[in-house]
Each structure stands twice: as structure tokens, then as C-alpha cells.
């Protein structure tokens, strides 16, 4: 199957180095302390953050840092075909863990001992790259909740099909069976907090693909920063400062 035409266009009309259209919105769930909706093309996720708050299960309480919990789920209507997914299946558990670890790496947990932070992410519409979108949404929601962080974590995926590195795979490209690298970075600190890959890649090509994913993450970070700035200006305006 031809995923990149000789003219250099992908199936959906993007060029190999282009991301899908991204859109973000802060404050989608007013009851939560912080929340955000993040879209990458047709992938749409919502994130809500509660906390820092009292630890619900006392036995888990830690005296030196905050407890971060994360729950990932997919809405039943998120994929076209109607499928009942049991809660807590392997895939969700794994992604929950991935997101928790990624976020824990950037939250300054030691400032909030004896407390708990809950991150809920739900996929509303899935079209490839849900992991990345969830991390981006969670970052925004954490920022919205005012939780102290080292840096924003942003994430983007990249793949390798038809001997071409591709940025931000959609569902069709994702299910092509090629390598799929999901990367999460702290853009300001230039540190990698998440690196996952399906399938195999030669090491030198992996470097190229990773570099592409880093560029993608940085682009996402710029966008998120803009959104946050915009949001802060709005808040300023509302308070009449």
C-alpha cells in the first residue's frame, strides 16, 4: 500500500513533515480544578484534573510527595464501530500508567506532600495518536488547575512508512503496521520523559524519526503556550486587572 505518493502527499493530503490541525480549549469541565479539550485532527480527548486534594485512601498517602493518579478511558462512541469495551482492560491500564508516569515526571510533587492529584482523560473520538493527545490535554488541564510543574510536557508521534519518516500518524497510517514512535518531551528543558515504539526500526532511522517527533512536540508546545497565554489574558481581563 502506498502511504506516501511519489508526489510527496500522504493519504489525507498532508506532506510527511506536517502535523494534523491541532486545537485546544481550556476549561471544558467547570466542576474540575482544571480541564481541557485537545484535538489533533479527528482525534479528540478531554482531560480533567482534581487536586491537589486530600488523599482518599490513607494507606497510599506519602509524606514527602503528592500522589498522582491517572485514569484513561475511551468513550464507547469514540470509534465508529459500536463496541463495548470493558473498563480497565489491558490497553487502558497501560496507557493510564504511561500518562501517569509522564505527568509525574513534570509535576513538582515534593511541594504537595500528603495530597493527591487525579487526572482523568477520556478519548471522545479516536483517529490515531490518542496517547499523544491525552498527554497534551493532561498538560493543559494541569496548567489550568494551577499545579506547579517543571515544564509543560508535550507529546507527538511519528512513524516510518514507505521508507519515509512521517509526523503525527492518523489511524490509517497507524494501522499500517510500520513503526510508531510516541515521544513526550519537556520542551524548555529539552528532556525526554516518554519514548515508546511499536514494531522495529534500524537505529539510524530511529534517530531521524525521533528528531521529527521532537520537532512535532516543540510545535505542540508552542501552540499550548499560546493557548495558555490567551487563557491567562482572559482571566486577567475578567478580573479587571
Amino acid at each position: 500500500m502506498e502511504y506516501v505518493s511519489p508526489e510527496g502527499l500522504r493519504l489525507d493530503g498532508r506532506r510527511p513533515m506536517e502535523m494534523r490541525q491541532i486545537r485546544a480549549e481550556i476549561g471544558a469541565v467547570s466542576k474540575a480544578d482544571g480541564s481541557a479539550v485537545f484535538e489533533m485532527g479527528n482525534t479528540k480527548v478531554i482531560a480533567a484534573v482534581y487536586g491537589p486534594r486530600q488523599v482518599q485512601n490513607k494507606s497510599q498517602q506519602m509524606s514527602d510527595q503528592a500522589l498522582v493518579r491517572c485514569e484513561y478511558s475511551m468513550a464507547n462512541f469514540s470509534t465508529g464501530d459500536r463496541m463495548r469495551k470493558p473498563k480497565g482492560d489491558r490497553r487502558s491500564t497501560e496507557i493510564s500508567l504511561v500518562i501517569r508516569q509522564t505527568m509525574e515526571a513534570c509535576i513538582l510533587t515534593h511541594l504537595m506532600p500528603h495530597s493527591q492529584i487525579d487526572i482523568f482523560v477520556q478519548v471522545l473520538q479516536a483517529d490515531g495518536g490518542t496517547r499523544s493527545a491525552c498527554i497534551n490535554a493532561a498538560t493543559l488541564a494541569l496548567a489550568d488547575a494551577g499545579i506547579p510543574m517543571r515544564d509543560l510536557v508535550t507529546s507527538c508521534s511519528a512513524g516510518y512508512l514507505n521508507s519515509t519518516p512521517l509526523l503525527d500518524l492518523n489511524y490509517v497510517e497507524d494501522s499500517a503496521g510500520g513503526a510508531d514512535v510516541t515521544l513526550g518531551i519537556l520542551p524548555k528543558l529539552d528532556k525526554v520523559t516518554l519514548l515508546q515504539m511499536d514494531s522495529k526500526l534500524p537505529i539510524d532511522i530511529l534517530e531521524n524519526v525521533m528528531q521529527l517527533a521532537i520537532e512535532g512536540c516543540k510545535a505542540v508546545a508552542n501552540y499550548i503556550r499560546e493557548i495558555l497565554l490567551e487563557n491567562t489574558k482572559q482571566l486577567e481581563y475578567r478580573r479587571g486587572v
Binding site: 505518493s5 511519489p6 508526489e7 502527499l9 493519504l11 489525507d12 493530503g13 498532508r14 494534523r20 490541525q21 485532527g41 479527528n42 465508529g80 464501530d81 483517529d127 521508507s163 492518523n170 490509517v172 522495529k200 534500524p202 532511522i205
Partner: protein
Amino acid sequence: MLHNKSFVKKTRAGRVMKQVREHYLRDDIFCGAPFCKVCDTSGARLSASPSTILVLDTNVVLHQIDLLENLAIDDAVVLSIVLEEVKNKNLSVYNRIRAICSNSKRNFFVFSNEYHRDTYIKEMTGETKNDRNDRAIRVATQWYQNHLGSGVKVLLITNDKENKRKANEEGIHAETVETYVKSLDRPDLLDLLVRPSEDVDMEEVEDLRPSKRKVIYIEHKPMSEITSGLHRGIYHQGKLRVNRYNPFEAYVGSESIGDQIIIYGRSNMNRAFDGDIVAVELLPQDQWQEEKSLSIACGDEDEDEDVHLAPNSADDAPRTIPQQGSSGEINAVSSRPSGRIVGIIKRNWHSYCGSLEPMPMPAGSGGIVHALFVSKDRRFPKIRIQTRQLENLLDKRIVVAVDSWDRQSRYPSGHYVRTIGEIGDRDTESEVVLIENDINSRPFSSQVLACLPPLPWTVSSEDLSNPIRQDLRNVRVFSVDPPGCKDIDDALHCTALPNGNFEVGVHIADVTNFVHPGTPLDDEAAQRGTSVYLVERRIDMLPKPLTEDICSLRSDVERLAFSVIWEMTPEADVVSSRFTKSVIKSSAAMSYVEAQARMDDSRLMDPLTTDLRNMNSLAKKMRLRRIERGALTLASAEVKFQIDTETHDPLDIGMYQIREANQMVEEFMLAANVSVAQQILKSFPLCSLLRRHPTPTKEMLEPLLRTAAAIGLHLDVSTSKAMADSLDQAVGDDPYFNKLIRILATRCMSQAVYFCSGELSPPEYHHYGLAAPIYTHFTSPIRRYADVIVHRLLAASLGIFKLPSIFQDRGQLTSVSDNLNYRHRNAQMAGRASVELHTLIYFRKRPTDTEARIVKIRSNGFFVFVPKYGIEGPVYLTTRSEKGGGEWYIDEQQQKIKKIDGSISYSILQTVQIHLEVVEPQPNRPKLQLSLI
């Protein structure tokens, strides 16, 4: 960059599902015209100042691809929607149009209209997909005209009347292919045109056949009916294989029945071609015509089919009309199912080589003439074509493509593609052999040649100082090859060690040192797959400087090699083995004859001869051990021509003689291949390229067993060991008997094939013929691409080089190995066809009487094999005029054919005297006729 989310798509994958895809529309897709002021012209492909730019419609690309491949058609825009439609309808045409588009000499530009924001259109309600696409093509044409301004005429070429009408209404210039080509004033191009089928019909009705309107073939069933029929088991699917000796008889190997279904006659074949995937319906059992399948017919066309254009040639070939019901005994044994084709699932049409059937020149020359094309391969029916250059084509070999075959016409209609050359000319006929086997014999392109190291090439000091390369120049290395061999890819050495053991080395030309993955040279070699050896020429896989000089392990020059070195006990047990890249200096390049003479000459005691003798004794032991394990000694009827150096005409034919020296070299090559196979499989269990030879099934050996039983020979085929033993014991009263049995056995087996180790489970790796659990090809990288791959794998397993990416992809490696198998088979077929061609040339001047053996019995004759020349062919007992044919009958059990009155009988493997002569029953299709004396 503008993007727009839209696109709702429904697909069917078992059930209907709605799918939503993003579709980004862009403003950075350029028009491809270098004179355009607005667009970025760096990727422009159209010529600098064309008067007309063509926009091609899908039907034009699909049907007129031969015309588009002609250089006269240029400055064309191919829209992405057209490419997409073509790809869905016909992949081979898609590949061809893609090749034109990427050819830098052609000004074909691909315009991605579907992603351009001005040319993307949405489907309107009530509009079919086809109409929408046609509209998209018109919109794009319109856009081009507006974009480029009035200086250039943008012309839509379409054969769709409706589309053309609408285009004209919208003010777009549109023409049909015919009118456009006519306006070019190039009559030769008109031949390349494919006429829409209704046109053909009309014209034929007018001037050719008054009775034409009658329907000759039954209608093909619609696809939906075929699918449901296949599900319910009424129809059976399979590939149609037409009998080489009888074009009216074909087989469909059906998995659902587990047997071959015989299709007899053109009307039952119902317009299917050899190689088509067809759906077959079984005939009722009382119509099964066993005896027909056992006859060798040699007719050219059924008499009742000889209506038409040219008076048909005198047709003196024998033919059998089945003795249906004439002998109850025969009908009783009838067991093979016959069937009738009800539909064609996938066509295998390609272009065919042949010539026109001779016909008188029409009075008015220059006009359109209908002619019948006769394919050189008898398995294909005649093809009707139209031409305006009949006088040029009559004595030429031409290539013709098939376009359609409708129910009313007896023959498919096609169109002329190109001329190869004069009929009967040896070069032309060789070219035909190459084309028929899809062999690329074009000279290497400049990009490929640019990858070669500069000449003259010598081993450099870097090579010598390279730590991965062992210096073996002081070792006495020699090579043994066929006489006149220039591409020497293997050399050997054998040194006695102080502890009484021997160090034996096999040195293989280090081709991968020069052919690097991903270069044009490598791509070309991968595509060619193998060198092709014809009788009078060789078509190389790699360019000549590499083949004959840089890689060839000639004597007295330093060469790079990849070596396998064993330490062996005098009993030929391997103590240790290692692999290394090396530098060698061959001390002698001998021919088999020379090597054999040295070994046999007891006076010679020089070190080289001693080495040879040591090796030979080791080889004999290894061979013995291999045979004990159950390796088969198979035989083929290989012949060797002596070619006149001046005229290149064959002077003499003889069987290829095998000497001990051949076996010695072969033994060490086998051992090297097995060692390498073990090494690479150990390192890359999932992506090694190996070679396997499947164990023949009972059904495959059935003909052999029947023959053996008829002559009272018992063959045990339970294991390869048992088979080898019983073959050894099959010694008849004459020396050739054993070889004949071996040849018959070889034919029953399937071919060895390359495969990717990840695709199969280890027990399936087995090589039956060699009785080796694993095997690969390592020893001939100059002439086989498989060996190049194995060299890379071996180097990677030693940690010398890193593994190229294709080896990490199982699918890709599988497709490479499929290509290699295909190329190997074709190379073999081409070699055989070339031998056949030269046999014909040889016997044209020398009708000969010789001895032959009967190998297959049929109801009206038998097939004989001529050991002396390696020829096999039919001998007819009944002639066509005696179509009653009842005087011979066949004894299935004893494999005999007897005259009714019992006066004469022929049994299988019997020796007969035959007369060989070249006859031309049909013009331009000479053949070797064998007749009893």
C-alpha cells in the same frame, strides 16, 4: 496552507461501516509548467513551451497505455484522481503510467487535483462516484486553462462521450483519442490505438463476416453469482493452464475438488486465456471426456473455426477426434472431471509475441486492414488486430496486446504494440524468447554504471589493511569452471595441516563490496534477479566490468573474496568452520577437463595436482555421506551446442558431460551453502533467505510410478533415501535406462524455491533433493541476486556490516524472494526456449534419423525423448485424415498403445527409430517434427 475537514466515506469490509477521514486541501500544489509565473517551478515536468497540454481521462489511460508509452505523446497532465481510478481497476496499467510519469525523458506531470483547494470537488447529491470523478477531471482541466492563460491550449482527451459533451458545454477543449491522434498526422500511431469494442463489431459485420452476429460463447456470469456459486460449491476457482501441445485442452487446478478439472475445447474455455483465474462449472459426469485429455492434438484451429480473413494454411498435422463411445472400455476408466468456464475472475492478459497470419495485400494500400495475429506460443488463440501498415508487418515478429473479447467474436481483438524484427532472424527470435519470459536485456543505464568503481581496478592498500579482511594471497587458491567461463565466482583451496587434517577453503567473489544496498546498481540487480544464459549469449545481472573483471576470480590477480574455511579430517568430518572476508590470488583457473586431466595423470605430482586429488578424495567421501542421508541424484536433459564463432549458428549438439571434477566442485559449493545457511539462520532466525525443495506429494509422483509399474520396476518413494536407493537399483539392460528414469523422476518434482525463513516453520525448510535440513545460495553472487542477499546476511551475522533495512522487514524480503523465484523460473524457461530455437536452426539444414525413447503414451501417439539431442516431442500414429482413429487403443495399466488387430504395439520406454525434420505446417511457426521410420 488551507485545510478543510470533510470527506465521509463508506466502505464495505464484510459489513457497512461509516468511516471519516480527514482530507486536507492545499495551496502549495503546483501546475508543473516551467513557464508558469505563479507556481514554484522547481518540480516542473512539462516542456518549456508546449502548444497543447493534454489532460488524460481515466478510460484513456486504462485502454490506451501502449499509445501513451509512445514518445509522440507528450506534455500530458495525469490527475491524481485518474491514477487512483486506474490503480483500482488495473494495477499493471497503473505501474506503467507511473513509470512514464517518473521517466525523466517524458514530460508527464502528476497533478494532485484531489488535494488542491481549487480543484477538489465534493460529491453532489444523486451524483455517482463515476460522474463525480469525471466532473473532477473537467474541473481540473478548466483550472489548468484558467491558470495557464490563453497562450496554451489545454486539451482534455477522453473517450467517454458523455464526458466530452459536458466538457464542450463547459467550454473546455475536449477530443477523443482517435481525433487527437489523427490530428498528429502519424499513421503508425493509429495502430497503437485500442478501438472501443462496439466499433470493432460494427466494422466486422460490415466487411468481414456476414454470419458474425451469432453468439459464439456463452455469457460470463456476473461476479456476484460467481462468488455465491463458489461459496455453495457449484463453481470452482483456479488458474487456467493450457496444454502446451494442445491449445484446445486446458486444466484448472482446483483446491475445492483437489484434482485438476479438464476444460476441453474453445467453447468450454469460454474466452479464457492461459493464466487467467477462472470460475469453472463441472459438466455432468456422462460428458467427462477422459480419452480426449490423453490425446495430443496438434491442430491449429478447429476446422469449423476456419472461417475468415486469410485462407488457412494446409494443415497436415495429425489430430485426434476423440473416439467417444467407440470403445466402452475407455469410457469406463474415465475419472477426471471435465468442466466449463462460467466466468473469469482475473484476467492475465499481457502482450504477446508472434506474427501476422499471411494474407494477400488488399487492393487499396494504406487503408485499415484487419489481420489475424498468431502468437508464437501456441497456448494463446489468434488475435484480431487492425493495421494501416500491413506491408511492413507481414514478415515481422510483432508484439500485440489484447483489448477485449466479446461473445460474438471467435477471436479476441487487440492492437499492435511494436515490431521486434524480421521473422526467422536469429536475433529477432532470441529477442522474442527474452520478451516472452519478461527478461530485461537492455543495456545498463548510466546511473547504474556510475556505481562501478573506476577501471582499471586493483586491490587497494586500504582493502589489505582492513582488519575485517584476511590476507590469503599466500594460499594456493585455484578455480575450476566450465571452459570459457569468464564470470568466475568461486575458487577453492586445500592445504594439508601438520596434524593430518586439511584446511579447505571456498572463496566466493566479494560482490557486496561493490554492490551497496540502495544504489541504482543494487536495485537493477535485484530487479534482474539472475543472469540469463542463452545458447549464444548471456544477459548479465551485473554490468560487465564487475562480472568479468573486478569480481571474477581470475588467475594471477589479487581479488576480494568472501571465504568459508573448514578444517576437515581426512574422513571429511568438519572439525571447525569459519567465515571471513579475504584477499586471494588465484594460482590457476582451470576448466573441468583440465582439472580432470591433472587428477588422472599419475605422473604429475606438483602441489596443485596434489591439492586437487586431496580435495577430490574429500569430496567423494562427502558425496557418499550425502547420498547415504538420502540425497537424490537427479538428471536433466541438458544439451550443449557448439556454436560457429562467425555466424553463431549451431554446429553440433551433444549431451552435457559430467566429470568427477564437476562433482568435486559441486560438493564443496553445497557444503559452503549449507554452512552459510546454518550461520545466517542462527543469527537471523526470522529473516534469512533460504532455499527449500518441497517433498513431492504422492499425486506428483503418480505418473512416474505408473511408468515404473508398467515396465515392472518397483520404486519406493516413501522417503528420499528409499527413492535414491530404488533409483540406483533401476538399472535396465542399456546404459541410458537409469538416466531416463532419473529424468522422469526429476520432472515429477516441484522446483526448489527461495523463501524468507520467518514465513515458514523449520521443518518446512527442508531441501528434499539434497536431503539437507536447510540450504541457501551463497556461491554465485555474480550471477544470482539471492547470493548477494545471503552475502549481506552473512556479513551482518559476523558483525562486519550492519544489516540493510529490507532484511528487517519480513514482508519486503518475501516479495524479494518471490521476485527471485519468478526471475529464476523465467531464466530457465528462456534458456530452454533458446535451446529449442537453436535446435530448430540446427535441424533445419540437417534432417536426421536417430534413436528415441517413448516417455508418455497418448491415445493417438506418444511422446518421445531423444537422448542424443535432449529433445522431447510428440509422434503421431494416426493422421488427421483418419479421424475415425479407432485402430489404436491404449492400455492404461501396461502403458502400451496397440493396434486394434494386435499387429503392432508400442510400450513405454521402448526404443524407436525416428526421423527429425523441421516443418512449417503453419507459416512463421516452424517446428520440429518427429516421425516414426
